[in-house]
Symmetry: C2
Subunit: 349 residues, 2 copies
DNA sequence: GTTAGCACTCAATAATTAAGAGTGCTAATA
DNA sequence: TATTAGCACTCTTAATTATTGAGTGCTAAC
């Protein structure tokens, strides 16, 4: 698949011209168009011969006998790997990402994904950072009223979790203080996975008569943190596909949008992405057509970037669009966003 | 618009038959169909005459000269107001709505709206309860580390809000305690609107050298609570419109889905709904076609219910579907859901 | 190796036709 | 007087048939 291997310079130029033109117009491109538009001084007949070769090599396809050519998945792949020059896009800034309060975080992610969809005009997705490896920083129980105490857990990165716990009879201030100390001494610096049975047993023992409360709190902590194991995904701009005629007929649109609404398969994609490397060496992954792991999106291309807010705290951001998407713009957008998200944590530590 | 006014019994029967049939098939219905299917023993010619009258009266419409009739908005309206019999649908239960923690709340709402979309097979929306009139129940500041204190505000109905506040220099435990007392004594039982300048001035004075912190906390509270002034809306099942051919061509679908994705106009709808009464006397509002306040949804009908979790804490739940929707099923579903949501708070108090 | 020229192919569009559902009207009927 | 049968007419939908034109592949000349 190397440039020099099977394509001479002229073929590469022609292939590039075909793809570029197709990205613009969305119509199959013919030999005459290339002959006129490109800087190669060649007649359409010559181009035709070359295009015939390129088709034989699998880079372009003829949708039917007497039509121009469109890029094949292989063609796009070549384009992405070899022909794409980076472009440094201006992109709307993201502010205030500093504090990882879940609620806040969610708003920020919604905002980011909206900006991305807006910038690229493609359907966009972002997954919330998975925090399973994250450490407990601070725990506090407070008496709210006679039947309720509130547990607040702050994780590394200032992610905050609350839970209301029902109790049978009121706790006095002293007991509460004791419990708080007990919790903080034992849990501080631990991840959810570290909270094992031995520890729980020991804490229960120390708690004495308040054992049920400790148990409740620990469950609560495990629960609330565990909740985030299932990845949250936010999306925006799904309806942009109507802007691309090749995807806009109602059958395809229906399939696409339904897949998009059911977020499960997107989560699959996201997790797959996170575990894979990237071929381009830019921190960006590109799936073209059939390469995509999601069945409902075989007519599309998917471009994703994985951002990392800290050890084990990873999320993915990506866009889904027609194969003839503006890869250049998309990739620089994602790169930028990735940089910003990556940078965010540094600022905070 | 009363039954006896302009429609005799037979006309009503025929109108009913037309609408019922149209709801089933989605095709214009002709005189012969009615003649055969209904229990009236009349020939198609007679039916034709009656239908001609019904058209003149505005209850049904002929899409073109030689087609059957379809219900007009007025026809649907008549159907909804007079012909619809209630049906008590079984509906999946909703559990665990007890605690209004924002995060939790959100998950519950997402769940509810999904269930609704699933039950009805129409696009569904639900708005989170607006809490602006809600009272402060409990405030707590905790030192998390040297640069951060965490403010936790619990509102009536156990809605919890957190905010991390940055500070320049550490606070000792005693000061924190003092501040906590100050905050709780002054704010307890107040709504956001009650926190006025006079009160703020007095609290600042009492706070002495810690005035900046109090200010920060108060702003925080106002901010965090104020955030909810803009109504959150959750949606599900938007892609169901592809199930209804009359809405599924890509232009209409695009318009609809785009409106649906931009939640702004839905919020308009929701707020409008909350301020209006309902004509049916069932706590359910029905907008048919042009009656809808949303331009992008003039081809649809909208059915909504307002639920109330307590004084001033209101939300709206609704579905959007084709005009020929199964009003009976939708309305009973909404009614049920409304009851469950209404009931929820009682359980909690 | 490149190019001009030409016959051929095939999708897309438009035009034509055919079928059928449904109406409105009239005249006959109970 | 209300109902019905019958028939001509309308208009959509689907199917069929040109028409067009972009684009190719091939051949022969440069």
């Amino acid at each position: 698949m190397d440039i020099t291997e099977e394509l001479d310079e002229r073929k590469v130029k022609i292939l590039n011209a075909v793809i570029q033109t197709y990205l613009d117009t969305g119509e199959p491109v013919g030999s005459r168009t290339i002959s006129k538009s490109s800087d190669l001084k060649l007649s359409s007949a010559t181009i035709r011969n070359e295009m015939s070769d390129l088709e034989e090599l699998g880079y372009i396809i003829q949708p039917h006998t007497s039509a121009g050519r469109i890029p094949s998945d292989k063609g796009y792949r070549f384009y992405v790997n070899h022909l794409l020059e980076e472009k440094d896009a201006e992109i709307n800034e993201i502010k205030d990402l500093m504090i990882l309060r879940t609620e806040k975080m969610e708003k920020v992610l919604k905002q980011v994904v909206k900006v991305l969809a807006n910038n690229t005009q493609y359907a966009s997705i972002i997954s919330a950072p998975a925090i399973s490896g994250n450490k407990v920083k601070f725990v506090q129980l407070s008496a709210v009223d006679e039947q309720h105490i509130l547990s607040v857990v702050v994780m590394e990165g200032n992610l905050i979790k609350n839970k209301m716990i029902e109790i049978d009879e009121p706790l006095d201030a002293e007991t509460l203080l004791k419990l708080n100390m007990l919790l903080n001494t034992n849990l501080n610096g631990l991840t959810v996975h570290d909270i094992n049975l031995t520890l729980i047993a020991r804490m229960k023992e120390e708690a004495g008569e308040f054992e049920p409360i400790i148990e409740n709190v620990l469950n609560t902590i495990a629960d609330t943190i565990g909740e985030d194991e299932k990845i949250e995904v936010y999306t925006s701009g799904a309806t942009n596909i109507f802007k691309y005629p090749e995807l806009a007929d109602s059958e395809k649109a229906s399939r696409f949008l339904t897949t998009f609404e059911e977020k499960e398969s997107i989560i699959d994609l996201i997790t797959e992405v996170q575990s894979e490397g990237d071929a381009t060496g830019t921190g960006i992954q590109v799936y073209i057509g059939e390469e995509s792991p999601i069945a409902g999106m075989r007519d599309c291309s998917v471009v994703t970037a994985t951002y990392e807010l800290g050890e084990g705290v990873k999320g993915t951001i990506g866009i889904i669009g027609p194969k003839r998407m503006d890869y250049k713009n998309v990739m620089s957008n994602l790169k930028n966003l990735k940089r910003q998200l990556d940078h965010t944590l540094k600022q905070q530590e």
